[in-house]
Symmetry: C2
Subunit: 207 residues, 2 copies
DNA sequence: GTCTATACGCCGATAGAC
DNA sequence: GTCTATCGGCGTATAGAC
């Protein structure tokens, strides 16, 4: 659910009282720091300390370098998103219902795991993960785009360029969430959800 | 117009054949590099070279440090935007016309001065200009917000929270522009302008 | 697997000649 | 105002003991 550590099941054994999975600790600490201060304003020393380590050395046991931490975070988040979207598409037929499910997910994540959403929505990922495919080309986003295409084909969504439908729709959704994450909108994302959904959906629905 | 160098009039004297205004050269070079590679991936050495200087030393004649260059860029851009918005508000009465004018401006800037728009829309400014007031609180954006408030009061815009009207409207506009700037939408911004305006405006107009 | 200690490079920034 | 030369420091990354 939090989508940061790859294996979300509880640990079976308790080898050592603490730091059974230092790798996850590092990822969680890095996610928090990156999303709050940015990648370049976060030093490995800070990440190490926040992970309960004295030095940066131990970090290199788990990651090749600082950038690899960010890459791992990115792929874990995308993987988790991808799974959730598959789930949503399986459970819903109509494009409207699928999009609604995705919006629900994003608003929920904004309240429950703001660091993840900040990582996705406010950080400029290609500045520090050069090899990362653009968010637009990642599997989950390709799937979302297919929803728009099906919606148009099925006559549920207005007959405009699917890319533009996507841009408009998530322009509204993401900007609302971004303002929540930045504190400009000062209530929980949940508060704004149904209204934002209506505004975004009515903009592209065929009437 | 380009909004980068404060004094936009032509130079009156030609003291030296080149580099009469090295400061402007530095600002222009920095704008380009920052908007393309990000603040932290750009070294002062690169800025100096791109400005036609051999070393970083001369840069310090004009700016206290690297961050000051970014700050100056930011205030110059906001100042210019501020003036343009005053102009637009003076020439148009209705909120719809004022917003239309601002949208025209932003689309035009995206085609004519993409570096400026990238600086505003895709860079994470507070990562390297900590003292900068958030974009939302800057004079030009406060004025834009007033347009939404007047539009609601005048019954031109649906009676919703003016902050949300703002968020929805510019969610659509800015996301469209962002995709143009990133190349995801591969035609000139101009191409998408009227459609984006309609989508954004119809979302908030009172019908 | 985590520690101490240390190496190394890059980059921001300064001093001073011209 | 631009240059050459150089400093200092931070942050990444490594070697090796425990």
């Amino acid at each position: 659910m939090t989508a940061v550590n790859k294996n979300m099941e509880q640990k079976k054994e308790e080898d050592t009282p603490v730091n059974t999975e230092a790798k996850d600790d590092i990822l969680l600490a890095a996610l928090k720091l990156f999303s709050q201060k940015g990648f370049f304003n976060t030093s490995l020393t800070e990440i190490a300390h926040a992970s309960g380590l004295k030095n940066t050395s131990a970090v290199y046991l788990h990651f090749k370098n600082k950038q690899a931490i960010a890459s791992q975070l990115y792929t874990n988040i995308l993987d988790s998103l991808n799974i959730s979207i598959d789930d949503i598409r399986r459970k819903n037929q109509k494009s409207s219902a699928q999009l609604r499910g995705i919006v629900d997910l994003l608003f929920q994540l904004t309240d429950d795991a703001p660091d993840i959403m900040r990582f996705l929505l406010v950080l400029k990922l290609d500045e520090f993960i050069p090899e990362a495919m653009s968010l637009q080309q990642s599997p989950p986003f390709v799937k979302v785009h297919k929803i728009f295409q099906s919606g148009i084909k099925a006559g549920e969504i207005r007959n405009i360029d699917s890319m533009l439908a996507n841009a408009y729709f998530f322009g509204v959704i993401n900007n609302t969430l971004r303002l929540v994450l930045l504190g400009t909108l000062d209530k929980a994302a949940d508060t704004y959800q149904s209204q934002a959904w209506l505004a975004a959906w009515n903009m592209i629905v065929k009437k």
